[in-house]
Protein backbone atom coordinates (compact mmCIF):
# COMPACT_ATOMS: atom_id res chain seq x y z
CA UNK A 1 0.00 0.00 0.00
CA UNK A 2 1.18 3.52 -0.74
CA UNK A 3 1.13 5.13 2.72
CA UNK A 4 1.40 8.66 1.38
CA UNK A 5 -1.98 8.07 -0.26
CA UNK A 6 -4.06 7.98 2.94
CA UNK A 7 -3.39 11.62 4.01
CA UNK A 8 -4.30 12.79 0.50
CA UNK A 9 -7.50 10.72 0.65
CA UNK A 10 -8.34 12.23 4.05
CA UNK A 11 -7.86 15.73 2.61
CA UNK A 12 -10.04 14.85 -0.40
CA UNK A 13 -12.88 13.63 1.81
CA UNK A 14 -12.68 16.06 4.76
CA UNK A 15 -11.21 19.24 3.23
CA UNK A 16 -11.54 19.63 -0.52
CA UNK A 17 -15.11 18.44 -0.81
CA UNK A 18 -17.73 20.95 -1.89
CA UNK A 19 -20.32 18.21 -2.48
CA UNK A 20 -20.19 17.07 1.15
CA UNK A 21 -20.03 20.66 2.42
CA UNK A 22 -23.22 21.52 0.52
CA UNK A 23 -24.96 18.42 1.81
CA UNK A 24 -24.07 19.05 5.48
CA UNK A 25 -24.76 22.79 5.26
CA UNK A 26 -28.16 22.22 3.67
CA UNK A 27 -29.07 19.98 6.58
CA UNK A 28 -27.73 22.50 9.12
CA UNK A 29 -30.02 25.12 7.57
CA UNK A 30 -33.00 22.79 7.84
CA UNK A 31 -32.48 21.72 11.43
CA UNK A 32 -31.43 25.11 12.88
CA UNK A 33 -35.00 26.52 13.20
CA UNK A 34 -36.10 23.28 14.87
CA UNK A 35 -33.23 23.46 17.38
CA UNK A 36 -34.01 27.15 18.05
CA UNK A 37 -37.63 26.31 18.77
CA UNK A 38 -36.56 23.58 21.17
CA UNK A 39 -34.17 25.94 23.01
CA UNK A 40 -36.69 28.82 22.85
CA UNK A 41 -33.79 31.10 21.87
CA UNK A 42 -33.09 33.31 18.89
CA UNK A 43 -29.40 32.42 18.88
CA UNK A 44 -27.52 29.18 19.42
CA UNK A 45 -24.09 29.64 20.97
CA UNK A 46 -21.51 26.92 20.22
CA UNK A 47 -18.04 27.13 21.76
CA UNK A 48 -14.81 25.52 20.60
CA UNK A 49 -12.11 24.76 23.16
CA UNK A 50 -9.21 24.38 20.80
CA UNK A 51 -7.23 27.07 19.02
CA UNK A 52 -6.87 24.75 16.03
CA UNK A 53 -10.67 24.62 15.68
CA UNK A 54 -10.73 28.42 15.77
CA UNK A 55 -8.11 28.33 13.01
CA UNK A 56 -10.21 25.97 10.87
CA UNK A 57 -13.39 27.99 11.52
CA UNK A 58 -11.83 31.33 10.60
CA UNK A 59 -9.43 30.16 7.89
CA UNK A 60 -12.19 28.43 5.91
CA UNK A 61 -14.80 31.14 6.67
CA UNK A 62 -17.17 28.64 8.29
CA UNK A 63 -18.99 31.39 10.23
CA UNK A 64 -20.23 32.74 6.88
CA UNK A 65 -21.44 29.39 5.63
CA UNK A 66 -23.71 28.51 8.55
CA UNK A 67 -26.99 30.23 9.55
CA UNK A 68 -26.53 33.62 11.23
CA UNK A 69 -28.44 32.37 14.26
CA UNK A 70 -25.53 30.07 15.14
CA UNK A 71 -22.78 31.88 17.00
CA UNK A 72 -19.39 30.12 16.97
CA UNK A 73 -17.21 31.42 19.79
CA UNK A 74 -13.55 30.69 20.52
CA UNK A 75 -12.63 29.23 23.91
CA UNK A 76 -9.59 28.77 26.18
CA UNK A 77 -7.72 26.28 23.99
CA UNK A 78 -4.40 28.07 23.48
CA UNK A 79 -1.69 27.22 26.03
CA UNK A 80 0.54 30.11 24.96
CA UNK A 81 -2.33 32.55 25.65
CA UNK A 82 -2.88 31.29 29.21
CA UNK A 83 0.74 30.84 30.40
CA UNK A 84 1.06 33.28 33.34
CA UNK A 85 3.25 36.30 32.79
CA UNK A 86 5.09 35.44 36.03
CA UNK A 87 6.28 32.11 34.54
CA UNK A 88 7.81 33.85 31.53
CA UNK A 89 9.29 36.54 33.80
CA UNK A 90 10.93 33.80 35.91
CA UNK A 91 12.36 32.12 32.82
CA UNK A 92 13.68 35.42 31.44
CA UNK A 93 15.46 36.06 34.76
CA UNK A 94 17.05 32.59 34.63
CA UNK A 95 18.10 33.18 31.01
CA UNK A 96 19.73 36.49 31.96
CA UNK A 97 21.51 34.75 34.85
CA UNK A 98 23.21 32.30 32.48
CA UNK A 99 21.00 29.21 32.10
CA UNK A 100 20.45 27.82 28.62
CA UNK A 101 16.69 28.03 28.05
CA UNK A 102 14.83 25.75 25.64
CA UNK A 103 11.43 26.87 24.47
CA UNK A 104 8.85 26.49 21.71
CA UNK A 105 8.81 29.24 19.08
CA UNK A 106 5.54 30.79 20.28
CA UNK A 107 6.76 31.18 23.86
CA UNK A 108 9.85 32.95 22.53
CA UNK A 109 7.73 35.93 21.43
CA UNK A 110 5.36 36.01 24.42
CA UNK A 111 5.31 39.51 26.02
CA UNK A 112 5.41 39.84 29.83
CA UNK A 113 3.77 42.46 32.04
CA UNK A 114 6.73 43.09 34.33
CA UNK A 115 10.11 43.54 32.68
CA UNK A 116 13.49 42.27 33.87
CA UNK A 117 15.56 45.22 35.06
CA UNK A 118 12.85 47.82 34.57
CA UNK A 119 12.06 48.38 30.89
CA UNK A 120 14.74 46.27 29.32
CA UNK A 121 13.62 42.68 28.84
CA UNK A 122 9.95 41.87 28.23
CA UNK A 123 10.22 38.61 26.29
CA UNK A 124 12.62 35.74 25.69
CA UNK A 125 13.24 37.18 22.22
CA UNK A 126 14.55 40.39 23.79
CA UNK A 127 16.60 38.34 26.28
CA UNK A 128 18.23 36.49 23.37
CA UNK A 129 18.99 39.78 21.64
CA UNK A 130 20.89 40.70 24.81
CA UNK A 131 23.05 37.57 24.52
CA UNK A 132 21.00 35.28 26.77
CA UNK A 133 21.23 31.62 25.69
CA UNK A 134 17.66 30.96 24.48
CA UNK A 135 17.18 28.03 22.10
CA UNK A 136 13.97 27.45 20.12
CA UNK A 137 13.22 23.74 19.78
CA UNK A 138 10.55 21.74 17.98
CA UNK A 139 10.11 19.33 20.90
CA UNK A 140 11.37 18.17 24.30
CA UNK A 141 13.44 15.36 22.73
CA UNK A 142 15.47 17.96 20.80
CA UNK A 143 16.25 19.76 24.07
CA UNK A 144 17.15 16.45 25.76
CA UNK A 145 19.59 15.58 22.97
CA UNK A 146 21.16 19.04 22.97
CA UNK A 147 21.50 19.20 26.79
CA UNK A 148 23.15 15.75 26.87
CA UNK A 149 25.69 16.97 24.35
CA UNK A 150 26.54 20.44 25.73
CA UNK A 151 26.24 19.58 29.47
CA UNK A 152 25.40 23.22 30.27
CA UNK A 153 22.94 24.01 33.12
CA UNK A 154 19.69 24.21 31.16
CA UNK A 155 15.95 24.64 31.65
CA UNK A 156 13.07 23.56 29.44
CA UNK A 157 10.04 25.87 29.51
CA UNK A 158 7.33 23.18 29.59
CA UNK A 159 4.04 24.63 28.42
CA UNK A 160 1.14 22.78 26.81
CA UNK A 161 -2.05 20.86 27.45
CA UNK A 162 -2.65 17.11 27.81
CA UNK A 163 -1.51 16.65 24.19
CA UNK A 164 2.02 17.86 24.93
CA UNK A 165 2.33 16.25 28.38
CA UNK A 166 3.27 12.76 27.05
CA UNK A 167 6.24 14.19 25.12
CA UNK A 168 7.71 15.12 28.54
CA UNK A 169 6.34 12.27 30.65
CA UNK A 170 7.62 9.39 28.49
CA UNK A 171 11.21 10.68 28.53
CA UNK A 172 11.16 11.26 32.32
CA UNK A 173 9.60 7.86 32.97
CA UNK A 174 12.25 6.09 30.87
CA UNK A 175 15.11 8.01 32.54
CA UNK A 176 16.19 9.70 29.30
CA UNK A 177 16.52 13.23 30.68
CA UNK A 178 20.06 14.37 31.63
CA UNK A 179 20.51 15.87 35.10
CA UNK A 180 21.73 19.20 33.74
CA UNK A 181 18.28 19.79 32.18
CA UNK A 182 15.66 21.15 34.59
CA UNK A 183 11.96 21.29 33.72
CA UNK A 184 9.77 24.32 34.42
CA UNK A 185 6.19 23.05 34.28
CA UNK A 186 3.52 25.39 33.01
CA UNK A 187 1.31 22.50 31.86
CA UNK A 188 -2.44 23.06 31.95
CA UNK A 189 -5.50 20.77 31.83
CA UNK A 190 -8.34 21.66 29.48
CA UNK A 191 -11.46 20.19 31.10
CA UNK A 192 -11.36 22.35 34.30
CA UNK A 193 -11.00 25.49 32.15
CA UNK A 194 -13.89 24.37 29.96
CA UNK A 195 -16.09 23.94 33.01
CA UNK A 196 -14.97 27.35 34.30
CA UNK A 197 -15.99 29.02 31.02
CA UNK A 198 -19.34 27.22 30.88
CA UNK A 199 -20.19 28.35 34.43
CA UNK A 200 -19.10 31.90 33.66
CA UNK A 201 -21.44 32.18 30.66
CA UNK A 202 -24.27 30.81 32.76
CA UNK A 203 -23.58 33.08 35.78
CA UNK A 204 -23.05 36.27 33.77
CA UNK A 205 -26.57 36.05 32.38
CA UNK A 206 -25.40 36.03 28.75
CA UNK A 207 -26.76 33.50 26.25
CA UNK A 208 -25.72 30.13 27.71
CA UNK A 209 -23.46 27.85 25.70
CA UNK A 210 -25.64 25.30 23.91
CA UNK A 211 -22.94 23.10 22.42
CA UNK A 212 -19.23 22.39 22.60
CA UNK A 213 -16.84 21.43 19.81
CA UNK A 214 -14.44 19.44 21.98
CA UNK A 215 -10.69 19.25 21.19
CA UNK A 216 -9.67 16.40 18.89
CA UNK A 217 -6.05 15.85 19.85
CA UNK A 218 -6.38 16.56 23.59
CA UNK A 219 -9.16 13.96 23.52
CA UNK A 220 -6.88 11.56 21.63
CA UNK A 221 -4.86 11.46 24.87
CA UNK A 222 -7.54 11.82 27.58
CA UNK A 223 -10.44 10.16 25.72
CA UNK A 224 -13.76 11.58 24.51
CA UNK A 225 -15.34 10.31 27.73
CA UNK A 226 -13.43 13.02 29.65
CA UNK A 227 -16.00 15.51 28.35
CA UNK A 228 -19.02 13.53 29.57
CA UNK A 229 -19.51 16.05 32.40
CA UNK A 230 -20.85 18.49 29.77
CA UNK A 231 -23.83 16.35 28.67
CA UNK A 232 -24.31 14.64 32.04
CA UNK A 233 -24.02 17.57 34.47
CA UNK A 234 -24.82 20.56 32.26
CA UNK A 235 -27.00 18.95 29.54
CA UNK A 236 -24.72 20.54 26.91
CA UNK A 237 -24.03 18.52 23.73
CA UNK A 238 -20.30 17.92 23.23
CA UNK A 239 -18.70 16.46 20.09
CA UNK A 240 -14.99 15.58 19.88
CA UNK A 241 -14.07 16.95 16.48
CA UNK A 242 -11.31 16.75 13.88
CA UNK A 243 -9.58 19.71 12.29
CA UNK A 244 -10.75 19.74 8.70
CA UNK A 245 -13.71 21.93 7.68
CA UNK A 246 -16.02 18.91 7.12
CA UNK A 247 -15.23 17.70 10.64
CA UNK A 248 -16.30 21.02 12.15
CA UNK A 249 -19.55 21.42 10.18
CA UNK A 250 -20.45 17.75 10.74
CA UNK A 251 -20.05 18.33 14.47
CA UNK A 252 -22.23 21.45 14.33
CA UNK A 253 -24.89 19.32 12.63
CA UNK A 254 -24.57 16.69 15.38
CA UNK A 255 -24.86 19.33 18.12
CA UNK A 256 -28.03 20.73 16.51
CA UNK A 257 -29.48 17.22 16.29
CA UNK A 258 -28.74 16.60 19.96
CA UNK A 259 -30.42 19.89 20.91
CA UNK A 260 -33.49 19.04 18.82
CA UNK A 261 -33.88 15.44 20.01
CA UNK A 262 -32.81 16.29 23.59
CA UNK A 263 -30.79 13.08 23.45
CA UNK A 264 -27.83 14.49 25.39
CA UNK A 265 -26.39 11.69 27.48
CA UNK A 266 -22.71 11.34 26.59
CA UNK A 267 -19.97 12.93 24.46
CA UNK A 268 -20.19 12.13 20.76
CA UNK A 269 -17.02 11.32 18.82
CA UNK A 270 -16.77 12.65 15.27
CA UNK A 271 -12.95 12.41 15.00
CA UNK A 272 -13.06 8.63 14.84
CA UNK A 273 -10.04 8.40 12.53
CA UNK A 274 -7.74 9.51 15.37
CA UNK A 275 -9.43 9.67 18.80
CA UNK A 276 -11.29 7.06 20.89
CA UNK A 277 -13.66 7.23 23.84
CA UNK A 278 -11.07 5.83 26.25
CA UNK A 279 -8.05 7.75 24.92
CA UNK A 280 -4.40 6.77 24.66
CA UNK A 281 -3.70 4.53 27.69
CA UNK A 282 0.04 4.38 26.95
CA UNK A 283 0.31 8.17 27.18
CA UNK A 284 -2.09 8.40 30.13
CA UNK A 285 0.02 5.91 32.14
CA UNK A 286 3.20 7.89 31.54
CA UNK A 287 1.52 11.18 32.51
CA UNK A 288 0.09 9.63 35.71
CA UNK A 289 3.48 8.20 36.70
CA UNK A 290 5.40 11.45 36.22
CA UNK A 291 3.01 14.33 36.97
CA UNK A 292 0.63 15.29 39.74
CA UNK A 293 -2.48 17.48 39.32
CA UNK A 294 -2.20 20.92 40.95
CA UNK A 295 -4.14 24.16 41.15
CA UNK A 296 -2.88 26.51 38.43
CA UNK A 297 -3.03 30.12 37.32
CA UNK A 298 -4.39 31.00 33.86
CA UNK A 299 -3.18 34.28 32.43
CA UNK A 300 -5.69 37.11 32.82
CA UNK A 301 -8.12 34.75 34.53
CA UNK A 302 -6.54 33.69 37.83
CA UNK A 303 -6.47 30.40 39.70
CA UNK A 304 -8.50 27.46 38.40
CA UNK A 305 -8.50 24.50 40.83
CA UNK A 306 -6.92 21.23 39.66
CA UNK A 307 -6.06 22.63 36.23
CA UNK A 308 -2.28 22.15 36.13
CA UNK A 309 0.40 19.45 36.14
CA UNK A 310 3.63 19.49 38.19
CA UNK A 311 6.42 16.91 38.40
CA UNK A 312 5.91 14.31 41.12
CA UNK A 313 8.28 14.29 44.10
CA UNK A 314 10.37 11.41 42.73
CA UNK A 315 11.33 13.68 39.80
CA UNK A 316 12.05 16.70 42.04
CA UNK A 317 15.72 16.77 40.99
CA UNK A 318 14.44 17.94 37.58
CA UNK A 319 11.92 20.42 38.97
CA UNK A 320 13.24 23.91 38.13
CA UNK A 321 11.01 25.68 40.66
CA UNK A 322 12.06 23.36 43.47
CA UNK A 323 15.76 23.21 42.62
CA UNK A 324 16.09 26.96 42.12
CA UNK A 325 13.84 27.99 45.02
CA UNK A 326 11.23 29.72 42.84
CA UNK A 327 8.17 30.37 45.00
CA UNK A 328 4.65 30.49 43.61
CA UNK A 329 3.25 33.96 44.28
CA UNK A 330 -0.46 34.85 44.55
CA UNK A 331 -1.91 35.78 41.18
CA UNK A 332 -1.87 39.44 40.25
CA UNK A 333 -3.69 40.65 37.12
CA UNK A 334 -1.19 39.87 34.37
CA UNK A 335 -2.40 41.39 31.12
CA UNK A 336 -1.21 44.70 29.66
CA UNK A 337 -3.54 47.76 29.82
CA UNK A 338 -6.65 47.60 27.57
CA UNK A 339 -5.91 43.99 26.53
CA UNK A 340 -9.10 41.89 26.32
CA UNK A 341 -7.30 38.57 26.06
CA UNK A 342 -9.02 37.14 29.16
CA UNK A 343 -12.49 37.90 27.77
CA UNK A 344 -11.49 36.49 24.36
CA UNK A 345 -10.06 33.35 25.98
CA UNK A 346 -13.30 32.76 27.89
CA UNK A 347 -15.53 33.44 24.87
CA UNK A 348 -16.96 36.62 26.43
CA UNK A 349 -15.60 38.88 23.65
CA UNK A 350 -14.45 38.55 20.05
CA UNK A 351 -10.94 39.74 19.12
CA UNK A 352 -12.46 42.68 17.24
CA UNK A 353 -14.07 43.87 20.52
CA UNK A 354 -10.59 44.71 21.83
CA UNK A 355 -9.52 48.35 21.36
CA UNK A 356 -5.93 47.22 20.75
CA UNK A 357 -6.76 44.67 18.00
CA UNK A 358 -4.79 45.45 14.82
CA UNK A 359 -3.91 48.86 16.22
CA UNK A 360 -1.28 48.56 18.97
CA UNK A 361 -1.54 44.75 18.83
CA UNK A 362 -0.57 42.93 15.62
CA UNK A 363 1.03 39.57 14.78
CA UNK A 364 4.29 41.40 14.04
CA UNK A 365 4.23 43.16 17.43
CA UNK A 366 1.83 41.46 19.86
CA UNK A 367 0.55 43.54 22.78
CA UNK A 368 -1.34 40.70 24.44
CA UNK A 369 -0.72 36.93 24.53
CA UNK A 370 -3.68 35.95 22.28
CA UNK A 371 -1.91 37.68 19.34
CA UNK A 372 1.23 35.52 19.60
CA UNK A 373 0.45 31.90 18.77
CA UNK A 374 -1.19 30.54 15.62
CA UNK A 375 -3.76 29.11 18.05
CA UNK A 376 -4.55 32.41 19.76
CA UNK A 377 -7.94 33.71 18.62
CA UNK A 378 -6.61 37.25 18.03
CA UNK A 379 -3.72 35.96 15.95
CA UNK A 380 -6.05 33.76 13.89
CA UNK A 381 -8.51 36.62 13.33
CA UNK A 382 -5.67 39.03 12.45
CA UNK A 383 -4.36 36.64 9.80
CA UNK A 384 -7.56 35.19 8.36
CA UNK A 385 -10.47 37.24 9.71
CA UNK A 386 -10.41 40.01 7.12
CA UNK A 387 -12.63 38.02 4.75
CA UNK A 388 -15.33 38.08 7.41
CA UNK A 389 -14.91 41.83 7.83
CA UNK A 390 -15.20 42.39 4.08
CA UNK A 391 -18.29 40.18 3.89
CA UNK A 392 -19.87 42.18 6.75
CA UNK A 393 -19.23 45.45 4.94
CA UNK A 394 -20.64 44.00 1.70
CA UNK A 395 -23.77 42.95 3.60
CA UNK A 396 -24.18 46.49 4.91
CA UNK A 397 -23.63 48.01 1.45
CA UNK A 398 -26.23 45.70 -0.08
Amino acid sequence: MDFSLLPKQIEAVFRENSLLAKSILSQIYQITPLAMQKLKRERIKIMNFCGSHEWTTTHYGLRYMIPKEIELIPGPGCPVCVTPSSDIENIIKLAMEGFRIYTFGDVFKLPTVKHYKKDEVGSLAVAKSMNADVQIVYSFIDAVDDAKHNKKPSIFMGIGFETTAPSYAILFERNKVPENLLFYSSLRLTAPAAEYAIKLHKDKGSIPISGVIAPGHVSTIIGAMSWDFLPKEYKIPAVVTGFEPMDVIASILKILQMIYTENISYTELEYKRVATREGNKYAQNAINKVFVVTDAIWRGIGLIPKSGLALQEKYSKYDAKEQLGIKDVPWDYDLPPNCKCAEVTLGMAYPTDCPMFMKACTPAKPWGPCMVSMEGACSVWARFGSVQKVLNIMDEVR
Binding site: F3, V13, H53
Partner: protein
Protein backbone atom coordinates in the same frame (compact mmCIF):
# COMPACT_ATOMS: atom_id res chain seq x y z
CA UNK B 1 -2.78 23.19 21.44
CA UNK B 2 -4.05 20.63 19.04
CA UNK B 3 -1.77 21.13 16.08
CA UNK B 4 -1.16 17.57 14.88
CA UNK B 5 0.82 16.67 11.78
CA UNK B 6 0.38 13.45 9.75
CA UNK B 7 3.53 11.42 9.24
CA UNK B 8 4.79 7.97 8.30
CA UNK B 9 7.10 5.90 10.52
CA UNK B 10 10.42 5.33 8.75
CA UNK B 11 12.33 3.55 11.52
CA UNK B 12 12.04 2.63 15.18
CA UNK B 13 15.32 3.74 16.72
CA UNK B 14 15.07 2.88 20.44
CA UNK B 15 12.54 1.96 23.13
CA UNK B 16 11.28 5.56 23.12
CA UNK B 17 12.14 7.14 19.78
CA UNK B 18 11.29 6.69 16.11
CA UNK B 19 12.05 8.58 12.91
CA UNK B 20 9.07 9.83 10.92
CA UNK B 21 8.63 11.37 7.49
CA UNK B 22 6.22 14.32 7.49
CA UNK B 23 5.13 13.23 4.00
CA UNK B 24 7.22 15.93 2.42
CA UNK B 25 10.61 14.30 2.71
CA UNK B 26 11.22 16.04 6.05
CA UNK B 27 12.53 13.46 8.53
CA UNK B 28 12.31 14.00 12.29
CA UNK B 29 13.19 12.10 15.46
CA UNK B 30 10.09 11.84 17.66
CA UNK B 31 8.99 10.18 20.90
CA UNK B 32 6.86 7.04 20.62
CA UNK B 33 3.59 7.75 22.46
CA UNK B 34 1.53 4.73 21.36
CA UNK B 35 1.59 0.95 21.78
CA UNK B 36 2.74 -1.48 19.07
CA UNK B 37 4.23 1.01 16.65
CA UNK B 38 5.54 -0.47 13.40
CA UNK B 39 7.60 0.84 10.50
CA UNK B 40 5.22 2.09 7.82
CA UNK B 41 2.46 3.10 10.27
CA UNK B 42 0.66 6.32 9.43
CA UNK B 43 0.57 8.48 12.57
CA UNK B 44 -0.32 11.88 14.01
CA UNK B 45 2.61 13.73 15.61
CA UNK B 46 2.05 16.54 18.12
CA UNK B 47 4.98 18.58 19.51
CA UNK B 48 7.41 15.75 18.80
CA UNK B 49 5.39 12.82 20.15
CA UNK B 50 3.32 10.26 18.23
CA UNK B 51 -0.14 10.53 19.80
CA UNK B 52 -2.10 8.20 17.51
CA UNK B 53 -1.97 5.78 14.61
CA UNK B 54 -4.44 6.09 11.71
CA UNK B 55 -5.73 3.26 9.57
CA UNK B 56 -8.04 3.22 6.58
CA UNK B 57 -10.62 1.41 8.74
CA UNK B 58 -10.62 4.37 11.18
CA UNK B 59 -11.14 6.78 8.29
CA UNK B 60 -14.10 4.71 7.06
CA UNK B 61 -15.58 4.80 10.59
CA UNK B 62 -15.25 8.59 10.54
CA UNK B 63 -16.99 8.76 7.15
CA UNK B 64 -19.79 6.50 8.40
CA UNK B 65 -20.31 8.80 11.40
CA UNK B 66 -20.88 11.78 9.08
CA UNK B 67 -23.15 9.68 6.83
CA UNK B 68 -25.19 8.74 9.89
CA UNK B 69 -25.67 12.41 10.83
CA UNK B 70 -26.84 13.18 7.29
CA UNK B 71 -29.26 10.25 7.47
CA UNK B 72 -30.64 11.21 10.90
CA UNK B 73 -31.22 14.84 9.93
CA UNK B 74 -32.93 13.76 6.69
CA UNK B 75 -35.29 11.57 8.73
CA UNK B 76 -36.01 14.45 11.14
CA UNK B 77 -36.77 16.92 8.37
CA UNK B 78 -38.76 14.47 6.21
CA UNK B 79 -36.23 14.10 3.39
CA UNK B 80 -35.29 10.91 1.54
CA UNK B 81 -32.62 9.64 3.96
CA UNK B 82 -31.19 6.96 1.65
CA UNK B 83 -30.80 9.39 -1.22
CA UNK B 84 -29.14 11.98 1.04
CA UNK B 85 -26.53 9.50 2.23
CA UNK B 86 -25.91 7.49 -0.94
CA UNK B 87 -24.29 10.28 -2.94
CA UNK B 88 -21.83 11.13 -0.15
CA UNK B 89 -20.91 7.55 0.63
CA UNK B 90 -20.32 6.69 -3.03
CA UNK B 91 -18.04 9.68 -3.42
CA UNK B 92 -16.09 9.00 -0.19
CA UNK B 93 -15.58 5.31 -0.91
CA UNK B 94 -14.46 6.11 -4.46
CA UNK B 95 -11.80 8.44 -3.07
CA UNK B 96 -10.64 5.71 -0.68
CA UNK B 97 -10.62 3.14 -3.50
CA UNK B 98 -13.14 0.95 -1.70
Amino acid sequence: MCWGVPARVISIDSDVTATVDFLSGTLKKVVIGVDDLKVGDFVIVHAGVIISKITKEDVIENINFIAEQIRETALMTGEDADKAVKEFLNMAMKILGE
